[in-house]
């Protein structure tokens, strides 16, 4: 029982990290019609920036995270301004390739600016708490709560605010949305900025257990993309629920089956799932009209 509670708590934390990254990918997918493969690299890059600021100025990890997210917002805006907004007429496959080109640029810039050595990013809060025989660090609680709260705010904004309405309108049909007077260009730009910030937060939550290095987000990136597939690209919440499910399954597999192969087994399981449920667990079938 206590082991199960422990796994559940761990899953909430890892699931939250995946969910933040997946939400960023979905946001971009819905507004710019491309799977953003560079999400992980942009997050890694901003995480490096946050860590450098932390080391140079000695501010608290939370303020460093906020600084990192502000950097990420700026990077997101710059990426959209210089690249994505100019690629509106480009077909979806080429847009995907553009995001792959962005990976190369960020992975090339990072060692140039920050060096090749991995950096350490501390936990946000220290200490731990135990109940039902399971131990949870305050940092994990902090991550879980911040992640859930941020996603809650974002979902509330998507459903209830004018900005959310314009995002959903852009997502459902960009041309019609523009005709209705929605500034789709700035909606897309805002999604890129927010996606980058969400990714950066997930990177900084992951950083203390690992380190800040060039490949820190590789697994998160793959898992987040698979979460989008599993949840279905057609809804915002599907990917988030799928990300938590994947976090839970990953912890279960690594405890009961094999810690080395848990990710690989999980990937195969997800790919088999879409064989039976092609639109994802929560996706709607989109009928193509000619």
């Amino acid at each position: 029982m206590d082991i199960f509670v422990q796994i559940l708590l761990n899953s909430l934390e890892t699931g939250g990290i995946y969910a933040l990254a997946a939400l960023g990918i979905i946001l971009i997918f819905r507004t710019s019609v491309t799977t953003n493969f560079a999400q992980g690299s942009i997050s890694m890059f901003s995480a490096f920036l946050a860590t450098i600021v932390l080391i140079r100025t000695g501010i608290s990890p939370i303020s460093a995270a906020i600084v990192g997210m502000i950097f990420a917002l700026i990077i997101g805006v710059l990426v959209d301004f210089f690249v994505i907004s100019r690629a509106q007429k480009v077909n979806p496959v080429s847009k995907q390739i553009i995001t792959l080109g962005l990976i190369m640029i960020f992975l090339g810039l990072a060692p140039m600016l920050f060096g090749t050595d991995p950096l350490q990013f501390p936990r946000f809060v220290y200490g731990s708490y135990s109940f039902f025989g399971a131990t949870i660090s305050y940092n994990a609680i902090f991550n879980i709560v911040v992640g859930l709260a941020l996603m809650g705010v974002l979902f509330f904004a998507l459903q209830k605010t004018k900005w959310g309405l314009s995002v959903r309108a852009t997502a459902s049909n960009e041309v019609v949305a523009r005709m209705m007077g929605i500034p789709t260009a700035s909606v897309t730009r805002a999604s890129w900025a927010i996606a980058a910030a969400l990714g950066t937060l997930s990177a900084l939550m992951l950083a203390p257990t690992n380190s800040v290095n060039l490949s820190m987000m590789d697994t998160v990136q793959v898992t987040a993309l698979l979460a989008c597939i599993l949840g279905g690209f057609t809804s915002f919440y599907g990917a988030v629920i799928a990300a938590y499910l994947i976090g839970f399954a990953s912890n279960l597999l690594s405890f009961y089956v094999s810690s080395i192969w848990s990710d690989s087994i999980l990937y195969l399981l997800i790919l088999t799932t879409i064989l039976f449920k092609p639109t994802g667990l929560f996706g709607k079938k989109v009928i193509k009209k000619v």
Binding site: T35, F37, V83, R86, A87, V90, N91, P92, V93, S94, Q96, I97, I98, L100, G101, L102, I103, M104, I105, L107, G108, L109, A110, P111, M112, T116, D218, T219, V222, L225, L226, C228, I229, F233, I260, W261, D263, S264, Y267, L268, I270, L271, T272, I274, L275, P278, T279, K288, V290
Partner: protein
């Protein structure tokens, strides 16, 4: 005599062009042994040619089916490990290793395709990304076959059981396979299947209305792409003679994608040009420059920027530059004539 040769060359285009290209490439070892070019240039060119083979397969997938595979490096790596295991550990002949090392990745590729190609095209990129992560894990963890992080070695190939090739011989073998693949690609694109793929590119809905099975053709082009990746892996293994897990990362798959995008989509000569730009320029030029050469990620930034710039401003690839230059030149020339007259 000379005239006859010219006529033969002209009447058998583009095959004669491919073969001429192969003959020119085969002269490189001669230049090396004469001391005209550096010894290391042969290695650079050989790896460019290997990546060209891999990219030609991927060009079919991207150019005609509009699909992206991010598993290229994984499947290439799988080819290297399989052939090393079969020739070095089991002591079986090179030809058998070649067939098995191409067939096994192809089967895995087809299985991946079976799952992911049913749905939207962009699923394949994500599925292959996941598969290549799994493969890399296998390269590290199955150390009784792969030797883990320390890597695995193989020898230059021995053809037909008695013809032991050396470095130059293996290079010629690579050139031979490249020309073979170029001819195969040319024939495939101009065959019934190629025309079906072209129709799919225009409009999938129209193609399926005409009775073209989209799923089957997507699967076919993916299988060809994977088998060329594995073939590239086999040739790599027997030329470089060493393989290790970190050689087969996502970055290599991205570079191969860059080859196609930069060189020219749906173009055989464009692919070769792209391979020389993506894998040659960083090695031969960027590293020699004073400040840029010492930067670690310069090659990545160069290729990444080039991908984005080409897609945004020159979507058909740099191979089309010669037509544009010719057009502009003609225009300039004519204007000059007009002014004079």
């Amino acid at each position: 005599m000379n005239n006859k040769l010219m006529n033969f060359y002209k009447s058998h285009k583009p095959y004669s062009q491919f073969i001429l290209f192969g003959i020119i490439l085969s002269l490189l070892p001669l230049l090396v042994s004469l001391g005209l070019v550096k010894y290391s240039l042969l290695t650079t060119v050989a790896s460019i040619l290997i990546y060209s083979i891999v990219a030609l397969g991927l060009n079919l997938l991207l150019g005609y089916s509009g699909l992206i595979s991010l598993g290229t490096a994984g499947f290439m790596g799988m080819g290297t490990y399989l052939t090393a295991f079969i020739t070095a550990d089991l002591g079986l002949p090179f030809e058998l290793a070649l067939i098995i090392s191409v067939a096994v990745p192809m089967v895995i590729g087809v299985l991946t395709g079976l799952v992911s190609l049913r749905i939207e095209g962009y699923y394949l990129a994500i599925a292959t990304l996941a598969i290549s992560e799994i493969l890399r894990k296998v390269f590290v963890e199955f150390d009784f076959i792969t030797n883990g992080f320390s890597g695995k070695q193989a020898q230059y190939p021995k053809l037909l059981g008695f013809l032991q090739l050396d470095r130059n011989g293996t290079y010629i073998l690579i050139v031979f396979f490249l020309i073979l693949v170029m001819i195969m690609m040319h024939n495939l694109v101009n065959s019934h299947t190629g025309r079906a793929l072209s129709t799919m590119r225009g409009s999938e809905a129209a193609a399926s209305a005409m009775g073209i099975n989209i799923y089957r053709h997507r699967l076919l082009s993916f299988a060809i792409a994977v088998s060329f990746s594995a073939l590239g892996g086999v040739l790599y293994m027997h030329f470089v003679k060493y393989t290790y897990p970190n050689a087969w990362i996502l970055m290599l798959s991205l570079n191969i994608l860059a080859v196609i995008v930069i060189g020219g989509i749906r173009s055989i000569s464009g692919t070769i040009l792209g391979a020389f730009i993506v894998f040659g320029v960083p090695d031969l030029i960027l590293k020699r420059l004073p400040i840029i050469g010492s930067i670690d990620g310069a090659a990545y930034i160069f290729n990444g920027l080039l991908i984005i710039l080409v897609i945004l401003f020159y979507p058909n690839g740099l191979i089309n530059m010669r037509f544009d230059i010719q057009k502009n030149f003609n225009k300039l020339f004519r204007r000059g004539e007009d002014n004079n007259g």
